[in-house]
């Protein structure tokens, strides 16, 4: 009993000393809290760590899903929220005050498949529609063979694997499908979870990836940040200019080289850019335009704005690339900066009022 007590006290002392050495590094003891999408979480976590090392600011991010991020911001329990789908006008009107969307990086949805012996697969929008809606049912269908001349396609049945949980990945995928296919738009539509006509549902990107890698004949969609980090086969997709595009950091970035509205609330799927991978999308950080609320300290507000500024800059964007997210093209990051500069504290731009 005595021994246990000594060990416990010893451990407590060690923990305390760790703590004090941390806070002694730099003056600031500000903690910024945020919550939302799980999709950009690896990027944000690494960015928080890198930024925290130099500034001393600590971050607390809850990966509770885009919906949860929006709810937390509305309840004003976080400094900023994160979402994979921008808020509709109706959702914006439901919030207690005006918010702004700041895109932080791009991600994509890749079409992963498991066909032993087929190392490369090209798919056109028509094929995607037919495969995912179940009108083509075997892999050696002449329509698939016509696009993939070299591949030895087996006569296996096609099994579609989809996300059984609500997800921003599903949202980007279904938004693209609705743009390229009328039948899809009318029968299935766009959303974070869908009414699937056929196939197998699996939970989360790991669930879909695991199901596809374990069973031959399957095809499904997976978040690119997850797929790039895994050994998984994914298809080249024909974009709106007719080019077959391999999803990578450059082709996903290219998707945002299009006209972006001033508030950045846009889906960049099926981008007109000839080099763009067509199933790509932004992920956003959302925060209130007027930051003076809930008696939050001026320092804290200043630090969160400074962090977002850093995130949009060269350093922050290179962090994104290192964990397989596509950085924002220059035009988009300048739009994002303008939005950031429009954020106010007590009616005046934050940049002017706050200590830098």
């Amino acid at each position: 009993m005595k021994k246990l007590l000594i060990v416990t006290i010893g451990m407590a002392l060690i923990l305390m000393s760790c703590n004090s050495s941390n806070s002694g590094k730099k003056g600031s003891d500000i903690t910024i809290t945020a919550a939302g999408a799980t999709f950009p979480m690896p990027f944000y976590n690494l960015a928080f760590k890198k930024y925290g090392e130099t500034s001393g600011v600590t971050f607390n991010y809850g990966g509770i899903g885009s919906g949860g991020g929006i709810r937390s911001l509305a309840d004003r329990v976080v400094d900023f929220g994160a979402t994979d789908a921008y808020l509709s006008d109706r959702e914006m009107a439901d919030l207690p005050a005006e918010i702004v969307h700041i895109p932080t990086c791009l991600g994509a949805v890749v079409i992963a498949y498991n066909l032993p012996g087929v190392g490369e697969l090209s798919l056109t929008p028509e094929l995607l529609e037919k495969i995912f809606m179940g009108t083509i049912s075997t892999w050696n269908d002449p329509a698939i063979a016509a696009v993939n001349g070299q591949a030895k396609l087996p006569d296996t049945k096609i099994t579609v694997v989809y996300r059984s949980d609500g997800s921003g990945t599903t949202y980007i995928f279904s938004d693209y499908m609705s743009k390229i296919s009328n039948a899809w738009q009318q029968q299935i539509g766009t959303g974070k979870s869908l009414n699937w006509p056929a196939g197998i549902g699996a939970k989360g990107n790991p669930g879909v990836a695991g199901t596809i890698s374990q069973s031959a004949g399957t095809i499904g969609y997976i978040g690119s940040e997850y797929a790039f980090a895994q050994k998984i086969n994914y298809a080249l997709i024909q974009n709106s200019s007719g080019n077959f595009i391999n999803p990578d950091v450059n082709s996903v970035s290219a998707a945002a080289r299009m006209e972006i509205p001033a508030d950045t609330r846009v889906m960049v799927t099926n981008s007109p850019d000839p080099e763009a991978y067509p199933i790509s999308g932004f992920t956003w950080i959302i925060l209130f335009k007027e930051q003076a609320y809930n008696n939050r300290s001026v320092n804290r507000i200043g630090e969160s704005i400074k962090f977002l500024d850093w995130l949009l800059g060269e350093e922050g964007q290179s962090v994104a690339e290192s964990v397989n997210y596509a950085p924002l093209p220059d035009e988009v990051s300048s739009v994002a900066r303008q939005i950031l500069n429009s954020i106010t504290y007590d009616g005046k731009p934050v940049k002017e009022t706050l200590p830098q």
Binding site: G67, S164, D165, G166, G201, A202, Q214, G217
Partner: protein, 283 residues
């Protein structure tokens, strides 16, 4: 005197707290389910659809009630012969021997394995086996989930049944043996009739567990939100749809999920109630 009253007050408030928590859960489930029932009425129980698309939202509990009951009933059917034989082995044939001791600890060990581990094993071992046997294309679906559920509930049914069988008075059995009965006759004419209600109650409680099982089923059932058309079709269960979709749900969809939770609660309550009633009535 004071210590006596103090103890009484403490015990009373502790049990009152549990009653309050239970009532709070029921009330919040019922309250959260109101919008879904207001929108769809009692038809909610019989709608075979789960369409979350904006503008034409339509939710029904039928696919999940069907999926839950079908997988649990099949699991029970698979479980009965296995659990019954095992409990006879432990409590009658090899009673008190080393073999029965080892077996009963193994059965208890099965009960201690977390659901997710059963799911992993089902996904990487059981499912490929079903594919290799040619029973289904990808191995996901009602049958695979029922198999894994059966394995999961066998320990519950077995341990209750073997305890009940061990409780059959030895005078009865000895009397039968002295009249020249064989072991087979003793089992079916003495042990079974005496312990029948307890064994049935054990199976009903095991069935109750199968109904609420979540993770392992989610990993194997295929998660398609419609009433399954056959043994090897994919489906979904009440617990699994909630686990899958509560994260990004809001509004009517969230209410529909809570309503499904409420129905699951009621079904589990009824099943447990029947089990307890049988124990009380026939013992």
């Amino acid at each position: 005197m004071i210590s006596d009253r103090l103890t009484k007050a403490l015990l009373f408030s502790a049990s009152l707290l549990i009653v309050l928590v239970a009532a709070g859960i029921v009330l919040s489930l019922a309250g959260g389910a109101v919008p879904a029932f207001r929108e769809f009425g009692w038809r909610f129980l019989f709608i075979n659809a789960w369409d979350p698309t904006d503008g034409r939202e339509l939710y029904g509990a039928l696919p999940f009630i069907a999926g839950t009951l079908i997988t649990s009933v099949i699991a029970l059917i698979i479980c009965i012969p296995l659990a019954f034989s095992t409990s006879l082995f432990i409590a009658e044939y090899f009673r008190g021997t080393r073999a029965s001791g080892v077996l009963s600890s193994l059965v208890d060990l099965l009960a201690g394995i977390p659901s997710i581990v059963y799911g992993l094993w089902g996904f990487y071992v059981l499912r490929p086996l079903i594919v290799n046997l040619g029973l289904s294309e990808q191995g996901f679906g009602i049958f695979t989930s029922s198999l894994i559920l059966a394995i999961m509930i066998i320990p519950y049914a077995t341990s209750i049944s073997s305890e009940i069988i061990a409780m059959v008075p030895s005078e009865l059995k000895e009397a039968a043996y002295s009249l020249g009965a064989t072991r087979y006759e003793v089992i079916f004419n003495v042990i079974l009739p005496t312990s029948r209600s307890g064994i049935v109650a054990g199976f009903i409680l095991a069935f109750g567990r199968a109904i609420g099982e979540t993770m392992a089923v989610t990993m194997l059932i295929g998660n398609s939100n419609s009433v399954p058309s056959g043994l090897f079709d994919t489906g979904n269960t009440m617990a699994s749809i909630i686990a899958n979709q509560f994260g990004e749900a809001s509004g009517l969809k969230l209410s529909a999920l809570i309503a499904i939770g409420f129905i699951l609660f009621v079904i589990t309550g009824v099943v447990n109630g029947i089990g307890k009633y049988i124990i009380k009535r026939f013992s």
